[in-house]
Amino acid sequence: MIAFDRVSLALGSFSLNDVSLTIDRGDYYFIVGPSGAGKTVLLEAIAGLHRPERGRILLRGEEITALPPEKRGVALVYQDYSLFPNMTVADNVCYGLRVRGVHKGEARGEVAGLLERFGIDHLADRYPGTLSGGEQQRVALARAVAVKPDILLLDEPLSALDPVTQEKFIADLQRLHREDGLTIVQVSHSRREAHLLATRMAVIIDGTLVDEGRADAVLNAPGSREVASFIGIENILDGTVTANDGGHARVDVGGRTFEALTDAAAGEEVTLCIRADDVVLAVGDGRRSSARNTMAGTVVSVAENGPIAEVKVNSGVELTAVLTRRSVRDLSLVPGTPVTLSVKATAIHVIRSFS
């Protein structure tokens, strides 16, 4: 639907470098990256608010690089809501229809429907300054949807909301994507949001697109160490392949040997990515198991967080496991407790150094 073909642009000291990506109709596309990586600039470039210095932007195969924002069929919702403070909620929602010359009566009906749909009809005559964050966000979304955009652009829409409002808003977005069939591009730095909403995603770091593809692929099988680190994989270990038997490799990590599935040849430098969820802890021997990586270790720390706990174990290399608090209690895990740690070879994602 919309494609970036080697797009580069500079804004002061910041620059987007050679970005190529494709967003298809119906995608819920996530752009993730650390703060200052250029996510919002990329979003604004899709909206036509920045003109690239090099490269092309294509919409349905036609070049729109120089097309102004008002002609692109996109709607943008900023993190700060950006509601027009001089207009009531109803006027805000109606704005796009008004400037597009939609007949007053028709626009009024359309706005009434949207206000009801987003549960903000009781706020119609209020000014944005008097609304809560969640209410403002709903108004901003209703205003964007009112113009029936081809692509809805969302700039970290959840970051300023409290957890309860976040959940409600996520449900709203899921409904919007599912029922309206909208193509949505969302900027975020939350892996959880990407898990819940994204169908495809791109990772951008320092103005460069470092990974792009299906959301589950990027989240579970990152292409580089920096992507793995950014998307929050808890255990990232650098090592060297010592042997490979038909794709079943042995990797030396600081003297410890891990078994993992990869085509990397012996001698090749690799990075192992292990989710904390995939690390199993047992007290006692526990060595007879189908898990290919079983090793003895000692608990270094236990950090409880709600119903779960993050347990760090030193087994020559330090690994993090996520357990339920009940498990921690049942196993009586405290710093210093000797444990046996196991990880299935299939749970290890191997990043090869040249990838």
Partner: protein, 293 residues
């Protein structure tokens, strides 16, 4: 223990005097920084108040003379002319200065922008006579702009347009700089959202940016108008006639003496104070939503 006694007991305890208790109270609870700031600020306001009280005392001692002078057609005509010319200058500033202020507010820093900003500020730093001379040389009958304009019937020397153009020149930085500040306070995100919702650049400006800057436009206009009607040296260079109020006071001072010129001055003070007070009151109710941006 002593603090409790201070805050609850209104009567001095044995051996204490009210003076010592107040000293202690002041020492503990007074923010001396704010007190000194107030004293220094009051000194500044005091000079203005003293000057007004001085002239008022003299003038109100002879109200018959004051009323006689204030009611003359020269004074009334001159006040109307001054205020009218100032208003015309401000209208022209709104028309031409607003786009300039917007461009300055939204353009990225560059050497060119710095040069334009300096040019906008030139009337602020020039002596008023120099500003008047610049206007005269450009708009006199043989001037670069004055010559072609007088050919089409628009004369500036000793004419109303000359007064307006001189006022416009000296007042322009006040309007442009205030307006630019107002535009800078409107978040660019609002404009970006309006654009993606289908508004072109001008529609965005008209429906979002300008309404949110109305308060600054109003303040800039009032400041510029105040500066314009107070101008003397800049105006007399190109338009000694018709008499604006400053010229009339000067003329009266040099021909009739201090008595009459002082009465005219006091009349102008009263009228100006009344008008500016009203204008400031009106600002309170304009663009309230602007505070929420």
């Amino acid at each position: 223990m002593k603090t409790e006694a201070l805050s609850t007991d209104p009567f001095p305890a044995d051996g204490e005097t009210i003076v010592t208790r107040w000293k202690e109270h002041l020492g503990r609870y007074t923010d001396w920084c704010t007190v000194w700031f107030c004293i220094m600020g009051a000194a500044l306001v005091g000079v203005t108040v003293l000057a007004i009280v001085n002239i008022a005392t003299t003038e109100l001692a002879d109200p018959a003379h004051l009323l006689k002078v204030a009611a003359t057609s020269e004074v009334i005509g001159s006040i109307l002319l001054t205020f009218g010319a100032g208003a015309n200058a401000v209208l022209l500033l709104i028309l031409f200065g607003t786009p300039l202020a917007y461009v300055l507010a939204r353009s990225r820093p560059s050497r060119f922008k710095g040069v334009v900003e300096s040019i906008v500020d030139i009337p602020l730093i020039l002596p008023h006579t120099v500003a008047g001379l610049l206007v005269y040389l450009l708009f006199m009958r043989r001037g670069w702009l004055g010559a072609p304009l007088s050919d089409v019937g628009l004369a500036f020397e000793d004419a109303y347009p000359g007064t307006v153009i001189a006022m416009l020149f000296v007042a322009s930085p006040f309007f442009v700089n205030t307006m630019r500040e107002g535009f800078e306070k409107v978040p660019v995100h609002l404009e970006n959202v309006a654009r993606t919702l289908g508004a072109g650049t001008f529609t965005t400006f008209r429906t979002v940016t300008l309404p949110l800057s109305l308060r600054h436009m109003y303040s800039g206009a009032v400041l510029a108008w105040g500066r314009a009607i107070g101008e003397f040296a800049g105006v007399i260079m190109i338009a000694y006639y018709p008499f604006i109020i400053s010229t009339l006071i000067y003329y009266s001072f040099t021909t009739d003496g201090i008595h009459t010129s002082r009465s005219i001055a006091f009349t102008v003070i009263l009228v100006s104070f009344g008008v500016f007070y009203l204008l400031r009151r009106m600002t309170r109710y304009l663009g309230r939503y602007d505070d929420r941006v």
